[in-house]
């Protein structure tokens, strides 16, 4: 790659598309018009310049290929990012979701012409109900946080429909994902934070104190972000329900529970799924995700509209006719059209179809096996503040007595060993947290190599702390000046001088 030296001695490793642009260069061309020409609208309605890059196709390919080399990815290596479930993304899913009869269907086509899509969506609703133990499922939400917002809207609508206007308090454990309180904040509800006890469970006494007739519900991640399955889960749910609240389950950690336990059976009223975590939709460098929501019987009428249903039963001769319907007390529409059909639902459908009941149970069992194995291998070297059998992830402390090395340094140093770091500084209740989620798609050799690297780094932290403070060393880029980014706020490429004057 070219290093271009520019002013202020900042080296440009890869120019932007604007810097690569050269006036008059052409990429993909469109065919000539085959209709008689119509005059354009009057000039005052037209733009005066179009500041878009001018590149040849090969320039574009090379540019993005160069960029791609700067990314760490699941296809490239181990990505034990806690709470993100960075499992392997099966390649067949990439092919099924691009079948021409899926990819070129318009969301407003008459239902008779998209029975394949609707059948897939209907079956997906049914499968997710079966996996989670819920009575109804919407596929509409676009991501986990979007599903959470959907769930909280339904909880509010439920209480409102009963004339129970005082219920505006949401109980949220201190270990929760930040999206939980943020979803509640979007509705103007208040948050009551519930502490965790010494074993990483919800503190029952604190919960009991907080339970009153203003509680809308509780948002609980189980297993929680410490990777712990709450040992008192039934008591927790009973306390919340007895005071008239609804139980929300954050499905971010569902990868531990497939075929192990169904949140609906435990008494949860609503839960979002993260198809991009549990059901292998790739993360795409930050989306698109897909966040369907399951609900118990008392919330089915509040689901977003529309849902997929059978509008005419089939028989031996004819398949059923699938179509849409609007639940009676629906909270409304969460996004345009029907959810992340192509990128989310088709991939996850393929994944579930290939796993079946036993395969899904294997997924969770091996995800939990891998996490416990890593925890066992690291226990002697790293402090595990909540040390018992974990689920699909666990949290270690990234600090050592007699060393000023922090979790951040350990994370950065791991890159030199060619691993993606774990999530750090989350959950907030553990000092210098390293949250490690290996997933089921890693072999023992990889787990051993990762454990060995972390153990070696622990030694380095005492003998050569500088090596960690200045890490990473062998990656294409070093540590970033985050303060400069926030202070100067350069959020767009500079256009070449005079660019906007050219038509």
């Amino acid at each position: 790659m070219t290093d271009i030296s520019v002013s202020q001695n900042v080296k440009i490793v890869e120019p932007t598309v604007y810097e690569l642009s050269s006036v008059g260069r052409r990429g993909v061309a469109m065919p000539a018009s085959d209709v008689p020409e119509t005059a354009l609208p009057e000039k005052t309605l037209l733009r005066t310049s179009l500041p878009m890059p001018e590149l040849a196709e090969v320039d574009v390919i090379r540019h993005y290929m160069h960029l791609s080399r700067f990314n760490y990815s699941v296809d490239g290596g181990f990505y034990p990012l806690g709470s993100c479930t960075m499992k392997y993304n099966p390649k067949i899913n990439e092919d099924t979701c691009r079948l021409p009869r899926f990819i070129y269907t318009h969301p407003l086509q008459p239902i008779e012409t998209v029975q394949g899509n609707l059948a897939l969506m209907y079956e997906m609703q049914e499968w997710l109900k079966e996996i989670s133990g819920f009575a109804g499922v919407t596929l509409q939400p676009a991501a986990g946080a979007h599903g959470e917002f959907t769930g909280v809207l339904m909880m509010a609508a439920y209480h409102k429909s009963r004339g129970d206007a005082r219920r505006t308090k949401m109980l949220i454990p201190d270990a929760a994902h930040g999206t939980n309180p943020a979803s509640v904040g979007m509705l103007g509800m208040s948050v009551a934070t519930i502490p965790s006890d010494a074993r990483g469970n919800v503190d029952l006494e604190a919960l009991e104190t907080a339970c009153d007739d203003t509680v809308a519900g509780m948002m609980l991640t189980n297993p929680n972000t410490l990777g712990m399955f709450d040992e008192n889960i039934e008591k927790v749910i009973k306390l919340v329900k007895d005071c008239g609240g609804l139980m929300y389950g954050d499905g971010a950690n569902l990868n531990a529970l497939l075929g192990i336990v169904r949140p609906g059976d435990l008494g949860f009223d609503v839960m979002h799924f993260n198809l991009h975590k549990t059901f292998s939709v790739p993360h795409g460098g930050g989306g698109p995700g897909s966040g369907p929501v399951g609900v118990s019987q008392r919330l089915v009428d509040f689901l977003p509209s529309p849902l997929v249903t059978i509008v005419e039963e089939g028989d031996d001769e004819a398949a059923p006719l699938y179509g849409f319907f609007t639940p009676k007390q629906t909270i409304g529409r969460m996004k345009a059209f029907h959810g992340h059909f192509g990128g989310g639902l088709v991939r996850s459908y393929t994944y579930i179809a290939m796993h079946g009941a036993e395969g899904l149970k294997d997924v969770s069992q091996y995800a939990v096996l891998n996490a416990n194995y890593l925890q066992a291998r690291l226990r002697k070297t790293y402090k595990i503040p909540y040390d018992r059998i974990c689920m699909h992830e666990f949290v270690a402390e990234g600090q050592f007595e007699g060393s000023d090395v922090r979790a951040l340094d350990i994370a950065k140093r791991l890159m030199d060993y060619d691993f993606h770091p774990p999530t750090n500084y989350f959950p907030l209740i553990v000092h210098e947290a390293l949250m490690i989620e290996p997933t089921e798609t890693e072999n023992k050799d990889t787990l051993d190599a990762f454990a060995d690297a972390l153990i070696k780094i622990a030694e380095e932290s005492l003998l050569q702390p500088e090596l960690l403070h200045s890490a990473p060393h062998i990656t294409p880029f070093g540590r970033m000046d985050e303060v400069k980014a926030a202070r100067e706020l350069v959020l767009c490429c500079w256009l070449p001088e005079g660019y906007d004057l050219e038509k």
């Binding site: 080296k11 890869e14 932007t16 990429g27 085959d34 005052t44 733009r47 590149l55 700067f70 990314n71 760490y72 699941v74 490239g76 990505y79 993304n89 021409p100 009869r101 990819i103 269907t105 318009h106 086509q109 012409t113 394949g116 899509n117 499968w127 996996i131 676009a142 979007h146 309180p181 943020a182 192990i260 435990l266 795409g284 460098g285 930050g286 698109p288 529409r333 969460m334 992340h340 059909f341 990128g343 989310g344 459908y349 579930i352 290939m354 079946g356 009941a357 091996y366 066992a376 890159m415 993606h420 023992k444 200045s470 990473p472 294409p476 970033m480 985050e482 980014a485 926030a486 706020l489």
Partner: protein
């Protein structure tokens, strides 16, 4: 089949090190009576069988490329996607990466988002863009949240044109139901021929945001400069919901003075995919950047003096601000932002102009010819881009039924959202519609007027 790379022997070694006898013992914390439910799911398939099953399901569809001629738009558009786009999207380095929280090993994603932000800001004529929203509708709803936050919740009214996409209006209503807002202007029975200035009457000192669409849902092009001035005179912000293909040709909302421009960039390299995932874009003025939701990439340098990019202003976001965050958004549409950036780059200035020109020319040819048919006519006289409203001699649903029997998906039946427009079709024409297809539509509609 599963993707678990652990042999039974390895499993047993691992269990031994953990100190338990079997996999099942790892789940003792789960209440016994609910532990290990028997899931009623179909038998697991091999990859070969799964591909066949998905092929069978897909065969239950007819699509708008191979089986039918389509003039459907109304928020999702059938455009050509250059081959380069999917080749880049299929790079595992891009699609199997996570949100770029570790910038040292995520510069591919970060620089491509930075470039996306730049392209979008330039397209819309605005100063800054975020890294994306779920779709155009949710981006519009987030514009309401921005305005709400800008006035610290003190202005309690939004003014929404009835000619904003009905689904977008529905999503805004869903999103704002906890905010105690008054909504004005959003009346599908209003005079739909009134120009945008008719919204001025609703804008007052209590108005936080005015939302219009460009071109509007009926395809009409209005210069919103006067309306925007009127809104600004009352201190209100203005959000323009825009179609990116139209922006290639038309005066930018930025030039008109818009405060926020949102929309769906699906037309830029993202397949129809039965409605998603698409790509919500959100651009605004730099002064609103701290109130803007979503991820944001900024330029910086690394410890080695190299130009680099990081997620910045993260203090706005949910994982820091929790219940005080402007939005709960976290995962967005990263890969599709990449798709649209590749689309803009590989078509470039001239290719994009050709796409816009073809859409405009073909739509105008179609409008001119269709309006000549007995009983049919153009509903509005304003300039339009690539969508227009066709008045029909009978209910639009019946017209569409006739067209469907002839292998044509007609336009969007406006009667579903506007009671006065039950005989009206919203027709979209893109570069994908050949003259032959338009002429086929023409012939089929002539039969309607005759029977």
């Amino acid at each position: 089949m599963t993707y678990i790379p652990i042999s039974p022997k390895e499993r047993d070694e691992m269990l031994k090190i953990i100190g338990v006898g079997t996999l099942d013992e790892l789940f003792d914390a789960v209440p016994k009576k609910h532990r290990f439910p028997k899931l009623n799911l179909p038998q697991a398939l091999s990859e070969m069988e799964a591909l066949a099953l998905l092929g069978e399901l897909a065969a239950g569809n007819e699509n708008v490329r191979e089986h039918m001629i389509s003039f459907l738009g109304a928020g999702a558009y059938n455009h050509y996607i250059p081959a380069v786009v999917d080749h880049i999207l299929r790079r595992g380095e891009f699609y199997t990466a996570y949100t770029p929280y570790q910038p040292e090993i995520s510069q591919g994603t970060l620089q491509s988002i930075f470039e996306y932000q730049s392209l979008m800001a330039n397209l819309t004529g605005m100063e800054v863009s975020n890294a994306s929203h779920y779709d155009g509708a949710t981006a519009a709803a987030e514009a309401v949240s921005l305005a709400h936050a800008q006035f610290r919740g003190k202005r309690k009214k939004i003014v929404m044109s009835p000619t904003v996409n009905p689904q977008y209006r529905a999503v805004i209503r869903t999103y704002t139901q906890g905010m105690g807002l008054e909504e004005a202007g959003d009346d599908p029975t209003a005079d739909l021929e009134a120009g945008p200035e008719f919204l001025t009457q609703f804008i007052d000192d209590n108005t936080s945001l005015v939302i219009v669409q460009y071109p509007d849902f009926f395809g009409r092009i209005y210069d919103y400069a006067k309306l925007i001035d009127a809104a600004h005179a009352k201190g209100a912000l203005v959000c323009v919901v825009a179609n990116p293909t139209a922006l290639i040709m038309l005066k930018t909302p930025g030039e008109m003075g818009a405060d926020i421009v949102v929309g769906d960039a699906q037309p830029f390299g993202i397949p129809l995919w039965y409605g998603g995932p698409y790509l919500g874009f959100f651009t605004t003025k730099k002064s609103f950047v701290h109130k803007m939701a979503g991820r944001l990439v900024g330029e910086t340098v690394d410890a080695r003096g190299q130009r680099a990019y990081v997620l910045t202003l993260t203090a706005r976001e949910q994982h820091i601000k929790r219940e005080r965050a402007t939005s709960n958004i976290c995962t967005n549409q990263g890969l599709l932002a990449l798709a649209s950036a590749v689309y803009m780059s590989v078509l470039g200035k001239s290719g994009l102009q050709e796409v816009a020109e073809l859409c405009y020319q073909k739509a105008h040819y179609a409008a001119a010819e269709l309006s000549k048919i007995d009983g049919f006519g153009l509903c509005f006289s304003e300039p339009f881009f690539h969508e227009f409203v066709l008045c029909c001699p009978k209910p639009a649903g019946e017209v569409n039924q006739h067209l469907l029997e002839n292998g044509i998906i007609g336009g969007y039946d406006l009667g579903e959202d506007y009671p006065a427009l039950k005989d009206h079709l919203l027709i979209a024409v893109t570069e994908m519609n050949s003259r032959e297809e338009i002429d086929t539509l023409l012939e089929a509609l002539k039969e309607v007027s005759h029977d």
